[in-house]
């Protein structure tokens, strides 16, 4: 059906989307790169000229850079570990015949649809508030001292909040993958005397490998740019400043655009490294 006429028509039909995304990518991106080579302080003198790679080296050598990298890695790593492991276990469980499966599924998926600012504040106030929060009441009920969650266990608290939001995503994708597993293969293994643990490691886990990779890559891309959850809970205090949050503070709070832009370029490079792996998997899928 690819006549010349339909080909040129097809090109016209793609054009608006390509144009929109091209503008969206190129203009802001080149501006960020441009600013990153400038000393640019909008509130304190504006454009103060070219500085070469100074912003890049200053961003790396600033005292908040390495802690921010550490925090980012800790949050992303912990959330990935928790959501993938719990996700696999819950998916395995939900795959079994149970009563009320529909309702159970709905309840488990629900946190994913809660807007980030709401889930941040629910946890911060109604659960982690050290005087009136649910957990404080619970702690007092068993005779323990309530914990100042967001200041004394800030990272663990944030990991809890973010994992709660992303666990449904991992579970749902892993469940979809498990359900596509051929049950005959499992039955055959069972008849051959394979123990449940053996069946899990030699049949189910290899089958899930691709779905797990996809979950890890997609979550990493989203988790690297976690923002609202930190914004409404600790606002970057108590060692919860991630790379994204640090750049946000440099650019909008301290209005050091040059420095923030250099950070932005680092963030873009980092995200692209993860993206390359994801694109490979998706691209393979496109071929068949």
């Amino acid at each position: 059906m690819s006549t010349k006429h339909s080909r040129s028509l097809a090109r016209i039909m793609v054009a608006p989307a390509v144009f929109a995304l091209l503008v969206w990518m190129l203009i802001p991106l080149s501006m960020t790169v441009y600013f990153s080579f400038k000393k640019y302080l909008p509130l304190r003198g504006g454009d103060l000229g070219w500085v070469g790679f100074e912003n890049y080296s200053r961003f790396l050598s600033s005292s908040s850079f390495w802690p921010a990298v550490g925090t980012t890695i800790f949050i992303v790593g912990s959330v990935l570990l928790i959501t993938v492991i719990l996700g696999i276990l819950i998916a395995l469980l939900l795959d079994q015949p149970i009563w009320g499966q529909g309702i159970v599924r709905i309840m488990i998926i629900a946190p994913f649809f809660i807007m980030p600012t709401v889930s941040g504040l629910i946890w911060k106030n109604m659960f982690m508030d050290p005087t009136n929060g649910f957990l404080a009441h619970l702690w007092r009920a068993v005779g323990a001292d309530p914990v100042q969650w967001l200041s004394h266990a800030s990272l663990a608290s944030l990991v809890t909040i973010i994992s709660w939001q992303w666990l449904p995503f991992a579970t749902l994708i892993l469940l979809t993958a498990i359900q596509s597993l051929d049950s005959e293969q499992l039955e055959a293994a069972e008849m051959d005397g394979a123990k449940p643990i053996g069946r899990f490691f030699f049949i189910i886990l290899p089958h899930l490998a691709r779905a797990i990779t996809v979950v890890i890559l997609i979550q990493t891309i989203f988790l690297l740019s976690i923002f609202a959850e930190i914004f409404v809970t600790t606002a970057g205090a108590f060692g919860t400043k991630t790379l994204t949050y640090l750049i946000f503070q440099r650019v909008l709070e301290s209005q050091n655009v040059g420095l923030g832009s250099a950070g932005g370029v680092y963030a873009i490079i980092l995200a692209n490294i993860v993206a390359i792996f994801l694109m490979r998997i998706v691209g393979k899928n496109l071929d068949n």
């Binding site: 989307a17 995304l21 939900l94 980030p116 709401v118 749902l172 597993l181 650019v251 694109m279």
Partner: protein
């Protein structure tokens, strides 16, 4: 891979699943409870909360603050506007790539996906500056455009995977019967594409509704949607459990209901077709 299991196993699995589900769902259940309490009762111990009187007070207070409705309207306009605009641009693009693929189709699709990987914070200041220049900072127009661009790759990818499932033979048959291109699109393809377009619409409304980077950074009083409205409760003086709960319940309910209907599409849409 559901297999037959003994009744005993089924009871055990059911008990375990329900326990987990209740724990995971609990925070949402709890704000639902708190939203029907007075401010004084909402901060008592859980048992006292459950046994205290129920009231709609918080809802009417939140509702009376005229700005709640304004933020809700902003959310609806921004989420619907950006998604519909994205669909209008996305349908022709996905359509032509699915039915008239060229050598470049694969490259274009991958490139579109790569724009989704661009971390928002990396272009925060340029966008901020452009918005000031164009006079669309803190405007719904600006957010509609930005969220449309954010979700356009997902929209096109989802539509593309749906359109690819429409067998091309049907089109050929229609053409043999002398159907013109317009009637082919209108009467043959559209009815088959509607479910895919509807799912795409649904998932992207959810994503746009919950988007909380651009909505927080590019709005102030005027165009702030619910994400930003709720964030204003993060200051200590805004610490009212019952009212915050009521506002939260009102902000998440519509999307929670839509979300439950879009479970399947969620997997397809957010994995770019890599898991189906």
């Amino acid at each position: 891979m559901a297999r037959t299991v003994t009744a005993q196993r089924k009871i055990l699995n059911t008990a375990l699943s329900w326990t987990l589900a209740i724990i995971i769902f609990f925070p949402i259940f709890w704000i639902l409870v708190l939203s029907f309490k007075t401010e004084g009762d909402a901060i008592r111990t859980p048992i006292e909360v459950l046994t205290s009187a129920w009231t709609l007070e918080s809802y009417s207070i939140v509702q009376e603050r005229s700005d709640y409705l304004k933020h809700f309207t902003n959310s609806v306009i921004i989420a619907l506007g950006s998604t519909v605009l994205g669909i209008i641009i996305g349908v022709p693009a996905a359509w032509s790539m699915a039915f008239v693929p060229s050598k470049r189709t694969r490259g274009i699709l991958m490139w579109m996906l790569s724009t989704k990987m661009l971390p928002a914070v990396g272009v925060l200041y340029p966008i901020y500056l452009i918005f000031i220049e164009l006079g669309i900072l803190d405007s719904r127009t600006g957010l509609v455009v930005i969220l449309m661009l954010m979700n356009l790759p997902i929209i096109i990818w989802m539509l593309y995977t749906y359109f690819r499932e429409i067998p091309a033979e049907i089109l050929e048959a229609a053409r043999m019967d002398g159907a013109s291109l317009t009637s082919e699109i209108l009467y043959v393809l559209t009815p088959m594409a509607v479910p895919g377009i509807a799912s795409t619409l649904l998932l992207n409304i959810i994503l746009a509704w919950n988007e909380a980077f651009w909505t927080l950074n590019l709005t102030a009083a005027k165009a702030a949607p619910l994400t930003a409205f709720i964030a204003s409760y993060s200051s200590p003086e805004g610490l009212f459990f019952a009212k915050l709960s009521a506002a939260s319940v009102m902000a998440i309910t519509p999307i929670l209901i839509m979300g439950w209907f879009s479970q399947k599409q969620l997997v397809r849409g957010l994995t770019f077709g890599a898991v189906k």
